[in-house]
Symmetry: C2
Subunit: 249 residues, 2 copies
Amino acid sequence: MSKLQKVSIIVIGNEILSGRTIDKNVNFIAKRCDKIGLNLFEVRIIPDEKLVIKDTVLELSKKSDYVFTTGGIGPTHDDITTESIALAFGRKLEINSEAVKRMKAYYKNMKVEFNKARYKMATIPEGAELIDNPVSAAPGFILINVYVLPGVPSILQEMFMTLEHKISSGIKMLVKNIKVKSPEGEIADILEIIQGRYREVTIGSYPFFKPPDIGSMIVLRSLNKNKIQQAFIELLEKFQNAKILYEFD
Amino acid sequence: MSKLQKVSIIVIGNEILSGRTIDKNVNFIAKRCDKIGLNLFEVRIIPDEKLVIKDTVLELSKKSDYVFTTGGIGPTHDDITTESIALAFGRKLEINSEAVKRMKAYYKNMKVEFNKARYKMATIPEGAELIDNPVSAAPGFILINVYVLPGVPSILQEMFMTLEHKISSGIKMLVKNIKVKSPEGEIADILEIIQGRYREVTIGSYPFFKPPDIGSMIVLRSLNKNKIQQAFIELLEKFQNAKILYEFD
């Protein structure tokens, strides 16, 4: 995994922390990163607090190749992501003329007033690059390695897809799944032996527990095709010898 | 909110970061904390890596009244939460005789062998207090202010419920929801005025965007009954005066 570029996500929103809203963006971004060959190594969920956002963005920006933030870029008083990120990198906020142009065209078409509150969404840190919003015009932005996205999942998803060609590594993570009809306690020794033999393959074991359906999903992940195939075959041999039932796609 | 004791969650699991599994534990714990008067202020999702777990636990233990960890306490090689937490606090691991007793009884009843892999789940840091597992016996544990729970949601939930009487503050967060049939851009100025007037009330605004159903959920939260009621009434008056349509429970 260490060859892959490192991604972190910062979910900004009191509504997630209070339990009012179930986050849907982490899983979406996680899956896309897996697909386009990036390694998501950390997620933080933090409140709408300026200094917390600033510190978290600075910390993760240093540790990551890409940081994605979600939430807090709307027009209301509790949308403070943009100003907090400007603060983090010592940038001034400015009205972005390209953003204004896109939003004006969209609002005209929607017969909606482009008022002061909406101008806030065209106000971004100087030097930032816009992220296109094909759904509702108000853009996200890229500053250094921080990609600033909205919280509404349907909009975030469309915006993320416009970015993928820029950030895709082209590297394909190889994955093999084996569903084992035994609880983890019956197969732990086999997994440990095979994991010990294949350092380039990450073997994960995930119990499922919905009686009477009890068992383990074994997930092999690697960038090395030969190694993952060898590990997969050895694992199946061991399961057969131990009379462990399994299935795979 | 500052009166409430502070909670953080550490989700430990490569399967969440790869997008393979959708976390369900954060929202459960978040809702319960809201219910029992605790303030969830941060969540981290981190990989199954010993030093990352150790550092994250130490950092959040210092910043929190309670830390809940989820995942990584099963019997397989990739379950390294327990040893990482022991390392964080400089504790030895020991076989806990009470845990062994509970698990023996459970496995005998289930006609399952209490083998070496399963003994791993009875091995916890010295001085830790057990968390009862009413579902599948293998306990969690409490060390200092770190509450170590499993990743399987159905088991985590039952175990969490056994803890609530110990950690409930008895303080009730008051919440009022208003569903507004206007996008945020139309009401931002009103929200800002009312938020400015009521510092003891947190006003959140959450857009929904499923055309043609477009609007905003306004959520008022406070520990002060008088203030939240006043803010609520003033907000409704402002909406009425501006001919903004709304509904509330």
